[in-house]
Symmetry: C2
Subunit: 172 residues, 2 copies
DNA sequence: TCAACTGCTTGCTTTTTGCAACTGGTTTAA
DNA sequence: TTAAACCAGTTGCAAAAAGCAAGCAGTTGA
């Protein structure tokens, strides 16, 4: 029982849970990449996370309520990691971090198009996206009339990838 | 020359600069506590940062453009640390982190009243606050008609402190 | 002149990160 | 039926970072 936090400041407490170089990366990949299995997170990792770090982070995030893990009925060894309400509510933080990174850091076009859409869409879009994540991860009922933010983000990303690939081909 | 970032993703790049347990704490204390000297940051630290870590973070943050340092004309040894436009633009991230921490972590009332005001004030308040930080840290011209967000945050904080101290006295 | 204060630095131990190889079990396809 | 590929991690070790306590030279104010 050593739940001794450094202080009761909300910024500090958020940092104590998420303030390392990998936790938010893992959540980002689950949230925006819809990667739900260990191998998916490991092998598609843009930043090349090591397997022991990934295992440790998944464990910690589950312990702290930011992820949940259940067995995949289709495969005895597979586990499915899902977001929780706690991590779904990180969407505004991701959106603000994406906006800040886009403004001040040397981002690549491909990997920042989604951040751009999220920034331009503002809070209403974030709310739609969070509602969608609840459907996907918390088995919440889905409103079939609403177009998917997730699909829009992915379509925009794939479009940039395709355009850049075509431009690269043309340049050869 | 090893500016080899892990990836060009804006979330990742933000994390590579700020994703550790102390950088944002230091910036928070300069931003919300208006601590501008080394000793102020060290001795008033709610989370008890060690002096070598503080020295290292200040150096890194200056190198990366998140802080600037100038000599204090009133004392040959004193340095004054200031925010830059880059760190002033972290206000929305701090506001969202504060809101998240308040919702999901065991925050103390005293240390979260400012986060509450920032959350309730929303983006217009954040903009006012950023403009004020520019006056304070970037020597930007000040609009004398505007009431200070900084003062309002501090007043709210001191009020909670005083109220709780009075309640503690009464309980004895 | 001397105590207190200034921004750090040093030396040391503990903890975390990172790398690479490996494990035991499961599924798939020949 | 059996071998190859896939599954979620583990293990052992080296390197880097964090944390702690003490110390330092220069500066200031009484």
């Amino acid at each position: 029982m050593n739940e001794a936090y450094r202080s009761g400041c909300p910024i500090n407490l958020t940092l104590e849970v998420l303030g390392d170089r990998w936790s938010l990366i893992v959540i980002r990949d689950i949230m925006f990449g819809n990667r739900r299995h260990f191998r998916e997170l490991l092998q598609n990792s843009e930043e090349s996370i090591a397997s022991n770090i990934l295992a440790d982070r998944l464990k910690r995030l589950v312990e702290r309520g930011l992820l949940s893990r259940e067995d995949d009925p289709s495969h005895k060894q597979k586990g499915i990691y899902s977001l929780t309400e706690m991590s779904i509510r990180l969407v505004p933080i991701f959106a603000e971090m994406g906006a800040w990174g886009r403004r001040f850091m040397p981002v690549s076009e491909e990997l920042s198009i989604r951040a751009q859409l999220l920034e331009e869409g503002g809070r209403p879009l974030w709310e739609d996206f969070m509602e969608e994540l609840r459907v996907l991860h918390l088995h919440a009922p889905r409103d079939p009339a609403k177009p998917s933010v997730f699909d829009r983000l992915r379509a925009a990303y794939l479009e940039v990838v395709a355009r850049n690939a075509a431009a690269a081909d043309a340049a050869e």
